[in-house]
Amino acid sequence: MILTAVSVLLLFFLNLLVGSVAIPAASTWKILTGATGVDPIWQNIILKSRLPQAFTALMAGAGLSVAGLQMQTVFRNPLAGPSVLGVSSGASLGVAFVVLLSGRLAGVALSSIGYMGEVAMTVAAIIGSLAVMLLIVYVSQKVKGNVTLLIIGVMIGYVATAIIGVLKFFSAEEDVRAYVVWGLGSFARVSGGQVTTFVIIMAVLLPLALLLVKTLNLLLLGDGYARNLGLNVRRARMAVIASAGVLVAIVTAYCGPITFLGLAVPHLCRGIFRTSDHRTLMPASMLAGASLALLCNLIARMPGFEGALPVNSVTALIGAPVVAVVLFKRRKEESAE
């Protein structure tokens, strides 16, 4: 656990150091500590670009991983991830409405407005994903089975995607382009003041998610046993879904749909820590998620790529082999036992 925490710190600083403009470590440290006499351009790069980006990656990675762990436990399905309930599709739908429709209706393509457009996109994503999440929470009270709920979530995702498809068809080319860029996901899109908001929201939400560890441990046993041990299963399920849903909604709103991290990190942690106890898995997923997101961001920003590499490609390219190796190693050890 300490190792994971150290790796988060290490990767965080590497994120500040590495980029297309080479800035010496000593100068970086000076800028961070507020010392004077440093090139103002460097100062701008570190404080306005690299630092916000590192914070965004850290929080987004932690949030998505926690949400993934919660989903996998509550649905007792190893393939569940933050996106299964259609929450991120909801965010996409919100953004699609703003980006694609506004150009049609108001005559001004939103993608060309700049900063205002960005805020509007974030707000739309939050509204879209929270709307889907509320719908899911409502449905979760009505239906009994977990599988039914899972299927309904996936269906909502399909419907959202279909509507987006229709919107795209009727939209101007540059708007579609702006939407596609958003859909690639990025930790760099969030700028200045928005980062502070994002970090504060996540700093509140993540500890809240930790409060559910006993509930999640009981849910592992299945509904019957959990109930017999004094858990109100319906309420517990709702709380977990709401917690995961809000986390995904916020992260997606600010960074676009980031895939893979939420699905893979919980598996990675189970493999490393060899436990299903959420008292360990929860903090572990946060730290490992943050590390992996920082690592991916680092690679996406390596000199040469010039930030052209979309984060989603990197998460899958880096994450998949890492997870595969961990799982294979565990399988081998298990069969050797």
């Binding site: 006993k214 041990l229 004094g230 858990l231 036992e337």
Partner: protein
């Protein structure tokens, strides 16, 4: 050991309430269960055993009537409180990865642990004690996914013990187990009921085993009232016989057990050594021939030191050395 009444059931109706109709599974159930006793619920598939257990455990509401557990109505318990009174072992198979036996049994302490679910020294001592009572102390650090079905069932029983409840309900704890494990689990439950003075109530299909270990039986069948009583009383008054009577099944009053009853096509009289005769009778019975010492028949099989002599009226007797040979000679 003084036995106190732990569960009182009065005129209970169980079933499901649909949108337009009410489906009654069983009604008019009245009985009292005591501490330190093991009750077996017997019935065919679809008779409503699970529904009854679910109702008693508070998983679904009763249609009518009252259930009192420790003199308090079931409905008056809050969830957390009920968790300290009733423990269950269910048929649902839990898929658990990377969880040790001790951790799983430790989850049985959840009603008593704090917000984070951390076990204190006392909780751990209770877990150890539960493992010891069930006899699986050696499995403590094993991962649950590496256990056999029988071991897993014992772990779930240990979990129920760690919950420290006066009542334990088990839904078909012997399903999916091989025969020796069935006996082991039922024997274990019987012993626990005596040693821990708990009220243990379980449903099962294993009629013959249940008849041997149950202090009390509940018989359930579709469209009939639940009959409760001591197994021996139910044997003597013929209830058991008529409850499960059907073609091919016979109930033996002497032993109080059920037997496969083929339709006999012939009768044979047996003479000689008692043990050998019993085995010959068993073999012939399986082949549709009723054989016994008290049966009148022309055909007589005498079991002696040199083998089995078959004589039929005036015909010459044939001699077989083993029972297998005897069956062959008699043309079966």
């Amino acid at each position: 050991m003084t036995r106190s009444n732990t569960i009182r059931i009065e005129n209970l109706s169980i079933g499901y309430t649909g949108k337009h109709s009410v489906k009654v599974v069983s009604e008019g159930i009245t009985d009292t269960l005591r501490s330190g006793e093991l009750t077996c619920l017997l019935g065919e598939n679809g008779a409503g055993k699970s529904t009854l257990l679910r109702t008693l455990a508070g998983f679904q509401p009763a249609l009518k009537g009252d259930i009192y557990i420790m003199d308090k109505p079931l409905g008056a318990y809050r969830e957390k409180e009920l968790a300290t009174v009733v423990a269950v072992v269910l048929t649902e198979r839990t898929v658990l990865q990377n969880m040790t036996v001790a951790e799983l049994v430790g989850l049985g302490r959840s009603p008593y642990t704090g917000f984070w679910g951390k076990l204190c020294a006392e909780d751990r001592a209770i877990v150890d004690q539960a493992l010891e009572l069930v006899g699986i102390t050696t499995l403590k650090e094993r991962l649950v996914q590496t256990l056999s079905d029988g071991e897993r069932q014992k772990v779930m029983i240990a979990k129920a013990l760690a919950q420290e409840t006066p009542v334990i309900f088990l839904d078909e704890p012997t399903a999916f187990l091989d025969y020796p494990s069935k006996i082991e689990i039922l024997h274990l439950l019987h012993r626990l009921s005596r040693e821990t003075a708990k009220t243990i109530f379980l449903s099962t299909h294993d009629l013959e085993l249940a008849l041997q270990i149950a202090d009390r039986l509940w018989l359930m069948a579709q469209g009939r009232a639940v009959v409760a009583g001591c197994p021996e009383d139910l044997t003597l008054d013929g209830t058991l016989e008529q409850f499960f009577r059907r073609k091919g099944v016979a109930f033996e009053q002497q032993t109080g057990l059920y037997r496969v009853e083929p339709e006999f096509r012939a009768k044979v009289r047996l003479e000689g050594d008692d043990t050998a005769c019993a085995m010959v009778a068993k073999a012939l019975r399986r082949n549709g021939i009723l054989a016994g010492k008290d049966i009148e028949s022309d055909t007589v099989i005498t079991a002696g030191k040199d083998g089995y002599k078959t004589s039929k009226g005036s015909e010459t007797a044939t001699l077989a050395i083993t029972i297998s040979e005897l069956l062959e000679l008699s043309g079966l």
